[in-house]
């Protein structure tokens, strides 16, 4: 992919620009000395594969489903309305 995406597009935030306050933080990281360059050593935060939950579908309660529908932003004639998608 050679297409360059700007941060406003990546963030879906209109007119977004990198901020000076945040760039200062990045400068510190760029200039920091790390004693180890091996990112993923024993302090990684991955979850053990030996202890995963059962791969079963658990149905939500009727109340939960009802609230999820209530939260939907737009409804018309009993249908939930989403934005029009335009193919690019």
């Amino acid at each position: 992919m050679s297409k360059i995406m700007t941060v406003d597009v990546l963030s879906s935030i209109k007119g977004a620009q990198p901020s000076e306050a945040v760039n200062k933080l990045f400068e510190v990281i760029k200039n920091a000395n790390t004693t180890n360059n091996n990112t993923f050593n024993h302090h990684n935060n991955a979850v053990s594969l030996n202890d995963l939950r059962d791969d079963v579908v658990i149905d939500s309660s009727a109340t939960e489903k009802q609230i999820i529908i209530e939260n939907f932003p737009k409804e018309k004639n009993g249908y939930l309305v989403v934005s029009k998608v335009i193919e690019e």
């Binding site: 995406m5 941060v7 406003d8 990546l10 963030s11 879906s12 935030i13 209109k14 007119g15 977004a16 620009q17 990198p18 901020s19 000076e20 306050a21 945040v22 200062k24 933080l25 990045f26 510190v28 990281i29 760029k30 920091a32 790390t34 004693t35 180890n36 360059n37 091996n38 990112t39 993923f40 050593n41 302090h43 935060n45 979850v47 202890d51 995963l52 939950r53 059962d54 939500s60 109340t63 939960e64 489903k65 609230i67 999820i68 209530e70 939260n71 939907f72 932003p73 737009k74 989403v82 934005s83 029009k84 998608v85 335009i86």
Partner: protein, 454 residues
């Protein structure tokens, strides 16, 4: 329990206080639910049924936790009408133990802030001096506890959001070991450091609430099983022989002179009790803050990408789908939230990720290694909570970088996923007590020791 006051009267009294309060701690009152639950507790007492330790105890909930049927806004415009479809595991455990939720509490939007000013509900005012900030991001929770509007409150701590407001309002606030309490139903900010944390006025209350909320939950694969911390286990601190502190925290130019002298006086008090105190080397504040924020922004950019107004939230329609996303997010996120999302997407984008994100992860690793080595040398590490006293309302928003740096003493322990407790002693904004991972019990032990020592 003495029956001089009914549970209903107690709950009503607290609800009235919360309703009238001028510190802006309340996003929503849960009055109907609270009074219904209180009536049930009163009926149990009247029938002579036994009641549990937390039964009938009124508590507050930071407005980032799901409680089925209640509004969960994260103090944001985007979710101001969002209703929780389910209940967070930690909160459900408290409900099962009979505790009564009174209020969804004001905080920085999505946890983005250190002052509880980044909120659509008005800046939280400090419990001690209302001209000052309440701290953040769990500011409403700490102020409610300090003002006795709630007996305890449940905050969320990603980089200091329980410990710092606890310090600013002179109460106890615990960030447990990462994973000790399930994060299921806590709105995600930075998932690798997000922790559920209790705020209360005593170590005993912290212990009880921590025990109830702890435990493995299949809905949060990073949670783990832990043993109950008994009352007796934390009464004596004989096992604590050596305490460390980070000398660069204290020698920094940024530390307030009084915080520094009070901290050093505490060190002398501890030495006088026969405990060895060691000065330890640690990373510079700037490195800690930059590492934390770099990783937290990357995680929050990812976590908040789901908030586009499609399935829930305050959708603002535009010409097409992508425009709808962009307008919805631009209009509904606060400036600070946008700053963090944009920073996070910078970090994760091609060309930047190796130089910044991966290096940030490597630094985090070095920080964790450093802690591991330290805890071979010392049992406990103590530190001030903040370099300075709480700022005036309005001051923090002017300089985001200065606000990030004010988290210098809390973020390191978050990156290390360590148990850390703020106690309202030692400096104007308290002290942090930290132990090795999974050693929350030792933290509470040392807190009891300090309570009797200084």
């Amino acid at each position: 329990m003495n029956k001089e006051i009914t549970c209903t009267a107690l709950v009503q009294e607290k609800l009235d206080l919360l309703k009238q309060n001028t510190n802006n701690t309340v996003n929503a009152l849960l009055d109907t639910m609270a009074l219904d639950l209180a009536a049930k507790v009163d009926a149990k007492i009247a029938n002579g049924e036994p009641i549990g330790l937390l039964e009938g105890i009124p508590f507050g909930i930071k407005d980032v936790y799901m409680v089925q049927g209640t509004y969960t806004t994260a103090s944001s415009e985007l979710l101001k009408n969002y209703k929780s479809a389910y209940t967070a595991t930690a909160i459900q455990k408290l409900l099962d133990a009979g505790a009564i939720p009174l209020v969804k509490e004001n905080c920085d939007s999505f946890g983005h802030g250190s002052s509880s000013e980044n909120t659509i509900f008005g800046a939280v005012k400090n419990a001690i001096n209302p001209d000052l900030v309440g701290g953040g991001s769990s500011g409403g929770s700490a102020v409610n506890v300090a003002k006795d509007y709630t007996v305890f409150s449940i905050g969320g701590d990603t980089g200091g959001s329980v410990r710092q407001p606890a310090g600013y309002n002179n109460v106890y606030g615990l960030k447990p070991t990462y994973g000790r309490i399930s994060r299921y139903g806590l709105m995600a900010y930075a998932s690798s450091t997000d922790c559920v944390g209790p705020i209360a006025k005593s170590i005993e209350d912290i212990r009880i609430v921590l025990n109830v909320m702890s435990g493995k939950d299949i809905k949060d694969q990073t949670s783990y099983a832990s043993a109950e911390i008994t009352q007796d286990a934390i009464l004596t601190s004989d096992s604590i022989k050596t305490v460390g502190y980070f000398k660069n925290f204290i020698e920094s130019d940024a530390i307030d002179a009084e915080v520094k002298s009070d901290f050093l006086a505490t060190i002398e008090n501890i030495k006088a009790k026969g405990i060895e105190v060691k000065a330890l080397d640690f990373f510079e504040s700037e490195t800690l803050v930059s590492t934390y924020y770099t990783l937290a922004m990357a995680e929050t950019a990812s976590n908040l990408s789901r908030l586009d107004g499609t399935n829930y939230g305050n959708r603002i329609e535009a010409d097409n789908l992508k425009e709808t996303y962009a307008v919805t997010r631009s209009e509904n996120f606060s400036e600070e939230t946008k700053r963090r999302i944009v920073g996070g997407n910078q970090v994760l984008s091609q060309g930047f990720s190796d130089e910044i994100y991966l290096k940030g992860l490597a630094l985090r690793d070095s920080i964790a290694n450093n802690f591991e080595n330290d805890f071979n040398e010392v049992d406990i590490i103590i530190s001030p909570v903040t370099p300075s006293t709480p700022p005036k309302i309005g001051d923090s928003l002017k300089d985001p970088h200065a606000m990030y740096l004010s988290d210098a003493y809390t973020v390191g322990f978050s990156l290390g996923q360590l148990p850390t407790l703020t106690v309202p002693q030692g400096t104007a904004t308290g002290l942090q007590i930290t132990a090795a991972k999974n050693n929350d019990e030792l933290v509470l032990k040392f807190a009891n020791f300090l309570k009797d020592t200084i």
